[in-house]
Symmetry: C2
Subunit: 531 residues, 2 copies
Amino acid sequence: MNPSASLQPVLIDGQWRKSAASGSFQAINPRTRTPLDAVYPISTWTDCERALDAAARAFDTLRNLPVERIARFLEAYADRIEQRAAAIVELANLETALPVTPRLQEIELPRTTGQLRQAAAAAREGSWRLATIDTRANIRSYLAPIGPVAVFGPNNFPLAFGSVSGGDFAAAIAAGNPVIGKANSSHPGTTRLLAEEAQRAAEENDMPPGMVQLLYRLPHEEGERLVIDPRLAATGYTGSRQAGLRLKRAADVAGKPIFLEMSSINPVVLLPGALEERSAEIAAEFTTSCLMGTGQFCTNPGLVILLAGEAGERWIREVVDRFSQAPAGTLLSASVQESLLSAIKIIESAGGQRLTEPAGAPDDRVCCANTLLRISAGQFLAQPAALQTEAFGNASLLVVAANVEQLVRVMESLAGNLTGTIYSATGGQDDPAYDRLEPVLRRRVGRLINDKMPTGVAVSPAMNHGGPYPATGNSLFTAVGIPASLPRFSTLQCFDNVRPQRLPRWLRDKNPTGRTWRYVDRGWTQADVSR
Amino acid sequence: MNPSASLQPVLIDGQWRKSAASGSFQAINPRTRTPLDAVYPISTWTDCERALDAAARAFDTLRNLPVERIARFLEAYADRIEQRAAAIVELANLETALPVTPRLQEIELPRTTGQLRQAAAAAREGSWRLATIDTRANIRSYLAPIGPVAVFGPNNFPLAFGSVSGGDFAAAIAAGNPVIGKANSSHPGTTRLLAEEAQRAAEENDMPPGMVQLLYRLPHEEGERLVIDPRLAATGYTGSRQAGLRLKRAADVAGKPIFLEMSSINPVVLLPGALEERSAEIAAEFTTSCLMGTGQFCTNPGLVILLAGEAGERWIREVVDRFSQAPAGTLLSASVQESLLSAIKIIESAGGQRLTEPAGAPDDRVCCANTLLRISAGQFLAQPAALQTEAFGNASLLVVAANVEQLVRVMESLAGNLTGTIYSATGGQDDPAYDRLEPVLRRRVGRLINDKMPTGVAVSPAMNHGGPYPATGNSLFTAVGIPASLPRFSTLQCFDNVRPQRLPRWLRDKNPTGRTWRYVDRGWTQADVSR
């Protein structure tokens, strides 16, 4: 390997500087399987060292900056993303094959800037810090910034979950922490454009150097070394279960918090009354949800469970028709294609019967035929682990149960998922089955949905984009939703008998903003503390 | 081993029943080193199996019970503890040597019943569930019960942290979960009396069998098997770092939440102005704090850092006098004594100079001379890990720094602790040193204290009895304080487009109690949702 002068620089300590690289890589256009021009460094530990030192210094400085500055930085960054939107979505499209419209330009980019602005508002307002004041005992506590955060972004949302632009980034910054972003290797250029705008917005708003840093790629061992470094406080990760569990093992041994969103097959139950009532409508909704974005969503409906019988068979025929007629989208990368084909093979080996054309579509682009597989609940229950293999992409497994009790047993065999959906008749005839199923499904999923597909993940304060292990590392937290995603990057700090002028402003008698909600003497209030 | 008919029964599935034991043990009176009469079983996995099955059934039933019943159960249990107080404190005193008065009868028992009643109020009122409602998107979320919880209690608070009576127990039950208690082996009889009252209160209030279960002792491997069992949802543990980390490793690999409170030396910084101002007063406070309960508190001040100079030397002489004059209390058990003597030896080997009589007091009782050790900051910095060995008991290490900068370096070398304390002059002359120290200490401790010793842990909503690893497993959570300790035993559940009658009562339009605080459309309110 020859670290060449033409390698793209990394962003460390407020400067775009030459990487201490051990190798290089290029993004591949998934539509043509050809590399794009820019060459990116694979960083060595030297880059990590520098970034960690800068992040530690940035955190020391941040402590004395008004949160208003952080809020303005986030807003300025959102503005800058909008100003450079055309270039960002063009490059994201080249690197990921996600459509410019509507996906990147009209959905993901506005979602990204909306998240940054919501995060700014949360940073400014601070109610999410759960400031708690016991005036009698003079004990006060709140959720304080935790320290430098590493963010590992996924392949499927180059902007809205990007390592220096997405939900984890926005949450970590708004909570008062510097971020070291590790770009996803499938879209380094998009991440670079975003980091350029972040750095400019940071400079304009006098953020400390090292507030936002960017490395493009790290060997696995260096990633593990990064998450356990004493200078790093916490990690946010979105991606494959395998890589996530490697980081988790390292972080757990070191006692470091790590928040992982790893994998989910998002079971959807179709009760018979719903199919009798609106079969075609549900088939259309399912097809859209499963094939949108070529199925590359964390909440893609990868497992559908329905009862045997004519209504079910009719529905299956309808979705097979729709899947066969729909064009197969381009996948994000060759490795996504490889994982998808491998997952389909595992499901077929476990007895899944293919209902659509062979998956390995011969094509110049990176893709896979739209794929539906079918299996009986009895067979599913014989190999529940293999049949829960996540087929990330435009594929889904239909499980046909003989009766509601067998359907419940399938639910009982499920691992943790982000979402679980039940469609039922509006008239009430499915209610006994719903009541039987719901408790079993409820405890296995983060978000329980009625009568709509799981792929829409609203940025709502009430959203839970989380769920029981192994969908995530901890079912108490959500990766989407502001302010609910911010406490992950916080630590509980208590001040006992601390003199008034030494308290952080969130805990002083005077309400810090005049409108921050605080839990004072066992009630929520926006008032000052009167003593 | 001969599992004898005279073994005490375990509490499983609502019945006191014969244990499937692999061995037996007796509590030892630490004042006489003689075993007490009752013989307790060491359970095998068979007992765990039965308890797990019963806990799973109890959790299924709980789901449909009004929380009012749980609240009444906790209150009835508190009443029953008071009715049987004399017997409970008498046996606790025999098993632990903690004084009946004031400690057990006037402090710990009222603290225990107070916690149970506060937990009942929190269960009933429910604001801590952070019910969040987005009316526009019709997405609703709250902290739901997580499932059966195992509680491993510590040796030092037989009542207030007891596995079937203490803070973790109260939090887990109030959050809506059954508890499998693992008694601490040093006070099985006290735990039995408490469990008897818990079971009676549970029966009187129609709790499901298996709501409270009790095992006395488990081999390490079975403990690890318990915390990762699919039927168990989470674990609370208070005790030694070594045993805690074993459980943590097992739980982490299985992706199971575990909340650990493990060890802490609770640094106390005495700034020179404070010593000039009130040396004798601080010496008295320190001596009381360090020797109270024979120093067997999680928040015992085990490390004092002060500046070289006459004021410091005078203070040291004063505490040496006080330590030498105070009677040495009885320790909880022979293993506490062994650990304490071993920790003192480690500190001495690393250069700690003994200021008091030799530690190994020859005595029939389990005890150790009141021990003060001294070391220079320079020596401390040469072996910071060894010199942070927790000497659990009536011992403390005094670190003398040449100047404030060296004091800061000592702070920088500290691992995570529950508390950190700074004494400073009231007149302001220590403020520059305080400002220099505070950021360094702040991020290493859960509770920052001014001008008082750390041993008082008020049961306040604003309390943080937690801190950075390895003091605990996760610095976002507290083990003391209601309602703040309850979310640990919860899971975030979201309901997206779920029909109104299917929502849990905390998330319906009508406020469930008429006074529960909920976060509705970005503001806290006690009102019903109007749409």
